[in-house]
Chain length 197, copies 2
DNA sequence: AGTTTCTTCCTAATGACTCTAGGAAAGAGG
DNA sequence: CCTCTTTCCTAGAGTCATTAGGAAGAAACT
């Protein structure tokens, strides 16, 4: 019997490919095994169970996305960097819808596995260091990071879910939102609480 | 044999309760049937299949959420209305995590069913009419609506997914984001494209 | 009341999926 | 060549979704 040469990474990658093709919730152990030309049971030597596999796909996606963003923002600053960051984020989600979906499910990921993965930590560092160009101090910096992540994540999410039904092209709204985000970050310290409408 | 008195609405409601308790992806036909004291197959008289049930839960949630928002914003204007809107949105998501999850999956809902449900349409009307207080014209209005929805949706999503690990209290960041959103809407027309960092 | 008809719920069955346990065989190191 | 570990398989139990067809309650008609 020829060995298939399975590893946890190969199983994860196959799962990720499948997720992009048919959607994350059609990624089953059976389907992954089928694609690898292997019986279902064989996968359990490399991956604890389906949930674990999903977690690994999420981690893989986080790593890949972070690398993309790092490459895109390298050598840029200010609005340039912001736009590059946001577009890299969105492009990744478009190219890998299944992987992206995996990143946004409430993660009950194996903590040990998570500690090894550089993606999530790296992503946060990247974001903070990019926003530092806007000269924000804590706790403003954290608030700004959260706001930015919310906006990007939410936009991409709604777009993917078909939430933007209006005739206005999504591209245009996206560009406009980035403009707005930039100005917002520039003037972050100005709009403190208070001042009702 | 005592009849259980099933209807599509009762099945949907049971599914929604289950979703809030154990998470949307643990809502199975079997589980719903068990809770209703009925055999799995009986449900298929009222609901086409599992996907249809999920869609109905999503629609139910949309309706409920819209009603909450409408109540919260009634009689308010400007920033007051914005904050009420956002908090009603977020509170609903916190109280009904399963239902909320249902609203954000890529919906392939029965179009006929969707046409009957007032929720989604009503939600959009509400949002537009609230933002009209900021005196925006198309296409700015649509862009602003999209931005606002993205931010709220994204924030709540990340929060639910445990994406805010930093020490800074989420409540504070939330308040700050609403402040920022308000100022942003007030000055929307000012930050057009161009002006690099 | 008796009959018809519709709806509601059941039994039965199929096929897909997850996951466990125990065995065989391939490759590595001695 | 022998032993050990890893890799993969066979077998099997349990859950789930879904369909088909039947029985029993309810309501409407005679």
């Amino acid at each position: 019997m020829a060995r298939a040469g399975l590893t946890a990474d190969r199983v994860t990658l196959t799962g990720a490919e499948l997720a992009d093709e048919v959607g994350l919730d059609h990624v089953t152990m059976s389907a992954v095994a089928r694609r690898l030309g292997v019986k279902d049971a064989s996968l359990y030597a490399h991956v604890r169970n389906l949930e674990d596999l999903r977690g690994r796909i999420a981690l893989l996606a986080a790593d890949e996305k972070t690398i993309r963003i790092a490459e895109a923002t390298a050598g840029r600053a200010g609005k340039d960097a912001l736009v590059a960051y946001a577009n890299a984020y969105r492009d990744y989600a478009h190219e890998h819808p299944g992987r992206y979906t995996a990143t946004q499910i409430p993660m009950h990921i194996d903590p040990e596995l998570l500690a090894q993965a550089p993606g999530p930590r790296r992503a946060i560092e990247l974001t903070y260091s990019m926003l530092r160009a806007y000269r924000l101090d804590e706790p403003d910096l954290t608030d700004a990071v959260r706001m930015m992540r919310s906006m990007l994540h939410g936009f991409i999410n709604l777009e993917a879910a078909g939430g933007f039904a209006h005739a206005r092209p999504v591209e245009d709204s996206w560009a406009r939102c980035l403009d707005a985000l930039h100005t917002l970050l520039q003037n972050w310290h100005e709009h403190r609480e208070g001042d009702p409408a």
